[in-house]
C-alpha cells in the first residue's frame, strides 16, 4: 500500500512538474532572470503549491499519526545555521547555472537528453561528496 501511494504521488508530482513548465530549463532560467525578459510562471507554480500545503498541512499535522505509518517523519532541526545557508546558497547557484533543481531534473530524464542524464549523475555525486565532507 505504501509503495502504491509512493508511485501515485510520484506520477502526480511528475505531471505537475511537466505541466508547470519546470521540466523546461528555459522557463526556470527565465524566472530567475528578473532583469531580463522575466517569465513569471514559476511564481504561480510555487504559489499554487504552497497555497495547498499551507492550508492542508495544518489539518494533517493535528492528526495523531499518518494513515499508514506509526508516526510523522518531520525534520528535527529548527536552527538556522551556516550549514543550512551555505548549502542553500550553493544549491541556488547550481540551479541558476543550468535551470534544474532535483525534481525537474529527474522528471526530465524522460525526454532522453544526454545532458539531463549528466546533470542527474553529477547531482548524485554532489550529494555523496557533501555527505562525505559534512556527514549528518
Amino acid at each position: 500500500m505504501k509503495a502504491i501511494i509512493g508511485l501515485l504521488c510520484g506520477i502526480v508530482f511528475g505531471v505537475g512538474l511537466a505541466m508547470s513548465g519546470m521540466t523546461d530549463t528555459a522557463v526556470v532560467l527565465g524566472f530567475l532572470d528578473v532583469s531580463g525578459q522575466w517569465n513569471p510562471d514559476l511564481a504561480f507554480v510555487m504559489g499554487g503549491a504552497v497555497l495547498v500545503t499551507l492550508i492542508a498541512f495544518r489539518f494533517i499535522l493535528r492528526m495523531k499519526r499518518p494513515l499508514l505509518n506509526p508516526r510523522f517523519s518531520l525534520p528535527a532541526s529548527s536552527v538556522i545555521d551556516g550549514r543550512l545557508l551555505s548549502g542553500a546558497a550553493i544549491f541556488g547557484i547550481g540551479w541558476g547555472v543550468y535551470g534544474y533543481c532535483p525534481g525537474p531534473a529527474l522528471a526530465a530524464l524522460t525526454y532522453m537528453d544526454n545532458k539531463t542524464a549528466m546533470f542527474v549523475v553529477a547531482m548524485l555525486i554532489g550529494m555523496a561528496l557533501a555527505n562525505k565532507a559534512a556527514p549528518g
Binding site: 510520484g10 506520477i11 508530482f13 511537466a18 505541466m19 504552497v50 498541512f57 550549514r83 548549502g87 561528496l129
Partner: protein, 141 residues
C-alpha cells in the same frame, strides 16, 4: 484564458502530492531527501524508489494526454549541466532540502528554517543567472 492557468494547476498538483504523502505516509515530499533516502538504502524504501519511477513517468503521461510537445533540449553546453548538477547535489545535501522540501513543504509547515533556505537559494539563483546572462560576455541564450 488566464495565461498562467497551466503553471498554477501544475503547482496545485505538486502541492496535492505533498499533502497526500504527509497524510498517508507522514513524509515530507522533498525530492532531494527522497533521492538520498533511496540511494543510501534507508529502511522501508520501496515507496521512495516507486516515487522516483512515478516522477519520471509522470511527464510522459502529461505530454501524451494533454497533447503538449516535450520542451526543447537545453541549448547550454554539457559541462554546464555537470557543473550545475554537482552544485545542486552538494547544496541540497548540505542544506537539507531543495525547492520541494524547503520551498513547498517547509513553507507549508511555516518553518523559519525553510523560509531562510528558500530566500537564500532564490537569491543566489537570481544572482547567478544575472552574472551569466548580463555580466559575462558571449552568453549563449
Amino acid at each position: 484564458m488566464f495565461a498562467y492557468t497551466t503553471p498554477l494547476i501544475g503547482g496545485l498538483l505538486i502541492g496535492a502530492t505533498a499533502v497526500a504523502l504527509l497524510y498517508f505516509l507522514g513524509r515530507i515530499a522533498g525530492i532531494a531527501g527522497i533521492v538520498w533516502g533511496a540511494i543510501s538504502a534507508q529502511p522501508d524504501n520501496a515507496w521512495r524508489w516507486l516515487f522516483i519511477v512515478g516522477l519520471i513517468c509522470g511527464p510522459v503521461l502529461y505530454h501524451l494526454l494533454a497533447g503538449v510537445p516535450n520542451p526543447p533540449d537545453s541549448p547550454l553546453p554539457w559541462w554546464q549541466a555537470v557543473a550545475g548538477g554537482l552544485l545542486v547535489g552538494f547544496g541540497v545535501k548540505l542544506g537539507s532540502g531543495c525547492t520541494s522540501g524547503h520551498g513547498v513543504c517547509g513553507l507549508g509547515r511555516l518553518s523559519p528554517r525553510s523560509l531562510a533556505a528558500t530566500l537564500t537559494f532564490m537569491a543566489t539563483g537570481i544572482a547567478t543567472v544575472y552574472v551569466i546572462r548580463h555580466l559575462l560576455p558571449g552568453y549563449l541564450p
